[in-house]
């Protein structure tokens, strides 16, 4: 059996090193092509008329004037009269014309009558006694439970009690299975009572989404030495990908579609377009060279991806480009659900946590959404939680980098930090004392906590709350913990070695800017003992073997595992041909430095080119797969821990918070490329500072529209806002042997909690909600003064 295992540190040439991103040169020179840059011959430009109302019925649509305009090539009604619109900015009519100005004019010439309906865009605490509807459940709600790691037996009883809105399709069941539903849960879904009438009647805005109790919280609270109560929250933010969502679609004949689409999920797109377009998935080709950001919002073709193809069909198959405008991108193409909670926590005098109670709420738009996994990381022995999902008209939620975890971190770590303050304990000591509640990650967290303290200079910097102010500036430090899965997804690839020594690797994956291309090449080159630039890598097309969507930090584990297996098999095929020439058994050969040589005898070798020429005329192609039970060992793994610390300076006159330093200590098993791994962490810290201080999707209660759907008032952190950043990756013994684990999500989880805790430490009072804007800081300071 060939040895597929990752080579150990002495036998690695590239894996674990600091390697420069292979696609950086094309990116810095403007040569990298993104979907938005694709220019197809005869391409038409599409524009979309959108609903100005958050909740309305379409009464009538008159496109006659637009149809007569010169240059207009196709008009497609997306949601016709009678349709109910659930958020402002939703698509009504799409137009394709010879150029953008003409398409814009045509959209202006279309007349749509709406009948406005009452809307709700607030996610404020549900009023006492508000109608709390229980079940029936949607598939989304069940998926949320999986996300939140609701125990299987509890899921089964909830499904049996509440029933389902509609019968689950095979596709639904497969998806839930992939997301971790057990057989018992799947069986409960199959045999659940159906309540189709529930989807027809207007649902209540408030839905009881979760309620669970562990242990005996009442008793534990009664017996505790210290109890802390507080309110915490994190608002809806948007993904704000710099490349907006969209695609260019064309029909190469009546039954074949070619689409360039900005997606995190190249291989998964045809399967999602086939049914709505009524063609087999095999007839859909998807291509993408580069993507300008996704962060969880680009897994599906979306309705606009489907109607771009429909518009193209109406325009005789000509290529049609529809990329979302910036305002639409912010309004409809991505929102991270909000989460707020009233939390009560209790501990003994020495800091040992004994009880947790939370009543939480939040919105994921029309679907409501689920409860974040709280209490997070720390399994407090006695718990009671209830969660109310608010269904409203702010637009649909999407997975946002580490779905539900940044919310859980804020709700949990801020509440625990307040309890530590109440006990007059240094948070490092307090959290350290409770690390046994983190179970299998305890050892990792302990190591990380001590490294992070060192790198932050925590001992010198930490003072009890509110005791580090001079004049009108106050300084403080805070910390947070996080966890994530990150097991590698399903991935196939083909590696071909040609008799002339050239090598190519094809995989239907995508590089989100995380360094996927670089890491694939590092693994293949390390295994074959040839330079990375001797391998031609092709990704981003459905004509290559399918590889999973890039979400949930699953890419790196998937693509490196399949690449390793393909590379080992292809290498061994070359060994088999070379062995007779060198007069050894093929298992006595190794690939190093562009040579195939006899192990331990550097005088007996063939150059890579000579070795490959032994293949005679036929190239060898090997298919690598992940997972692959027949080719052990498992090369990927699940479960990481991270600790982050923040230092802030608060101007107590203006309320302005400045982050002065951030430290991230992170493990992710075997690191392939240290350089791009650190960049992932830097980027996550920066994104974290951005959502902690600035970002919020602000809705107007009167019009139901987003008020800051631009990049001036939806503020992202700029260069000016970024402090000293220190990243430390846990590598070596205890980490490398675990295999490759994803890194995209984990480091973005903790910044909100760490920064909020640092602000509380600085000013001596909790600013309950993110973002920590000057007005909120001043309000908290005033309340403290008044108290």
């Amino acid at each position: 059996m060939p040895d597929y295992a990752w080579p150990d540190a002495q036998h690695r040439t590239l894996i674990g090193a600091r390697v420069t991103r292979v696609d950086a040169p094309v990116k810095v020179s403007g040569q990298a092509k993104y979907t938005y840059d694709v220019h197809r011959p005869g391409m038409l430009y599409g524009k979309v008329l959108r609903s100005p109302y958050a909740h309305a019925k379409v009464v009538s649509i008159d496109t006659s004037a637009a149809e007569k305009m010169p240059g207009v090539k196709a008009i497609h009604i997306v949601q016709g009269p009678g349709s109910t619109i659930h958020w402002a900015g939703d698509d009504i009519v799409a137009v394709a014309a010879v150029d953008e100005p003409t398409a814009e004019d045509a959209v202006r010439a279309i007349k749509v009558k709406f009948q406005q309906l009452p809307h709700l865009v607030s996610d404020a605490e549900p009023p006492k006694g508000s109608a709390q509807e229980e079940g029936p459940l949607s598939i989304d709600a069940i998926d949320d439970m999986l996300d939140n790691q609701v125990p299987a037996n509890q899921m089964v009883s909830t499904i049996q009690r509440d029933g389902l809105i509609k019968k689950a399709s095979d596709e639904d069941l497969n998806m839930l299975k992939a997301d971790g539903a057990t057989d018992a849960v799947l069986e409960a879904i199959r045999s659940a009572t159906l309540h189709p009438e529930a989807s027809a009647k207007p649902p209540s805005n408030y839905q009881k989404a979760a309620a669970q109790t562990v242990g005996d919280p009442d008793k534990a609270f009664a017996e505790a030495d210290a109890v802390s109560e507080g309110m915490y929250g994190i608002p809806v933010i948007t993904h704000c990908c710099l490349e907006s969502h969209g695609s260019i679609s064309e029909w190469t004949d009546h039954e074949h579609l070619f689409t360039h689409i900005s997606t995190q999920n190249v291989s998964g797109i045809p399967g999602q377009m086939a049914e709505p377009l009524k063609i087999p998935a095999t007839n859909i080709r998807v291509h993408q060279d580069n993507i300008g950001g996704g962060f969880g919002s680009k897994f599906s073709p979306d309705r606009w991806g489907i109607f771009t193809a429909e518009v193209s069909r109406k325009a005789g198959g000509k290529p049609v480009r529809i990329m979302l405008e910036r305002d639409t991108e912010l309004k409809v193409a991505g929102a991270r659900p909000s989460a707020y909670a009233r939390v009560k926590v209790a501990a003994k005098n020495d800091g040992t946590l004994v009880a947790w109670q939370s009543s939480s709420w939040g919105t994921g738009g029309p679907g409501g959404g689920g409860m974040p996994p709280i209490p997070y990381v720390f399994r407090v022995p006695n718990q009671r939680q209830e969660h109310t999902a608010i269904r409203n008209n702010i637009g649909p939620a999407r997975a946002w980098r580490a779905p539900n975890h940044p919310q859980a971190a804020v709700l949990t770590m801020c509440a625990l930090d307040d309890l530590a303050a109440k006990l007059n304990l240094d948070p490092v000591e307090f959290f350290g004392r409770n690390l046994n509640l983190t179970q299998q990650r305890e050892h990792t967290y302990r190591e990380e906590l001590s490294i992070a303290s060192e790198l932050m200079g925590w001992k010198q910097k930490w003072h009890p709350r509110g005791q580090n102010a001079s004049g009108d500036t106050a300084r403080g430090v805070g910390l947070s913990f996080h966890t994530w899965g990150g097991r590698g997804h399903a991935s196939d690839c083909d590696l071909t070695i040609h008799p002339d020594g050239s090598v190519e690797l094809k995989m239907g994956s995508q590089d989100l800017g995380t360094g996927t291309r670089t890491c694939i090449l590092m693994v293949a080159a390390d295994t074959l003992g040839i330079p990375m630039d001797a391998i031609q890598l092709q990704i981003g097309d459905t004509t290559y073997p399918p590889s999973g969507g890039s979400g949930g930090s699953t890419t790196i584990g998937g693509v490196t595992s399949s690449t390793r297996r393909a590379s080992v098999d292809a290498r061994d095929a070359v060994f088999a041909k070379v062995a007779p020439a060198l007069n050894v058994q093929s298992d006595q050969l190794e690939c190093v430095n562009g040579k195939v040589m006899v192990k331990g005898d550097s005088s007996r070798f063939l150059s890579w080119k000579e070795a490959c020429s032994k293949l005679a005329v036929m190239p060898v192609t090997m298919r690598g797969k992940n997972p692959d039970k027949n080719k052990p060992p498992d090369l990927t793994n699940s479960g990481v821990g991270g600790v982050q610390m923040a230092e802030v300076e608060v101007d107590t006159d203006t309320g302005i918070v400045k982050v002065k330093k951030m430290v991230a200590v992170q493990d992710c098993g075997l690191v392939i490329d240290l350089k791009t791994a650190e960049s992932q962490c830097h980027g996550a810290l920066i994104m974290g500072i951005s959502y902690s201080l600035f970002e919020e999707k602000v809705m107007d209660p009167v019009t139901g529209r987003m008020l800051n759907a631009d990049m001036e008032f939806y503020r992202l952190a700029g260069l000016n806002d970024i402090p000293e950043l220190v990243v430390h990756m846990m590598t070596g013994k205890g980490y490398d042997e675990r295999g490759v684990i994803g890194l995209g999500e984990p480091p973005v989880i903790s910044p909100g909690a760490a920064i909020s805790n640092a602000v509380a430490n600085a000013i001596g009072v909790r600013v309950p909600f993110l973002p920590l804007t000057p007005d909120r800081v001043l309000t908290a300071l005033e309340q403290k003064a008044g108290a």
């Binding site: 420069t20 991103r21 696609d23 950086a24 040169p25 990116k27 810095v28 020179s29 403007g30 040569q31 990298a32 092509k33 993104y34 938005y36 840059d37 220019h39 004037a65 007569k68 305009m69 010169p70 150029d99 953008e100 100005p101 004019d105 704000c240 990908c241 710099l242 490349e243 907006s244 580069n290 993507i291 300008g292 950001g293 962060f295 405008e325 910036r326 989100l512 800017g513 995380t514 350089k675 791009t676 650190e678 960049s679 830097h682 980027g683 996550a684 810290l685 920066i686 994104m687 951005s690 631009d710 990049m711 001036e712 992202l716 952190a717 700029g718 260069l719 000016n720 970024i722 950043l725």
Partner: protein
Amino acid sequence: MRDDDENLKDANHSSESPGVSRRDFLKISGISVAVPLVAGPKMVMAAGQQVPVYGPGKVPMEFAINGKNHKADLEPRVTLLDALRDQFELTGAKRVCDRAECGACTVLMDNKPVYACSVLAIEAQHRPITTVESLIEGGNLHPVQRAFVENDASQCGFCTPGFVVSCKAFLDSHPHPTPEDIRRGLSGNLCRCGTYEGIRKAIAQVAQKGA
């Protein structure tokens, strides 16, 4: 747009110029099929002067981009950014906010950085335009680009061309920037992936070595 029309209209009235005002002309042409594909300028009286009014409809334009002459027939409302991207296939500059908020579309005009999304193509005629594509010389990356590569200053890379052009212009005018200069000088560009750490290091590296 609307304000300009308003002013123009007032100007027309006060000078009592005969004929069709621009506003009326727009109204007619918006629905008329008979507009010539390429229209020459129409002269109108504005603030007591004869001024040419271009469009609606396409007008011939000429540009000096990356040292080369480019021609196209474009509507006067087309931005420099859209002209570069859709007419000349220079797609390095990106369209992100399309309203001077993010810097992804940065190019040099008269050697100064501008947001190409907020310059009308018609106004950029005959003025030297430099885009990111021209920074490579003889197949070699510009020192700023090399520093971006070495310091991993791009992730998805969508903001990168804009940043590269801004950084080049910044370093040309501030060869020895202080950290404060860097913070201020590059606050006109935004990155969603969070590459600022690499960008900061790249600038420091170039400033030290000299571009």
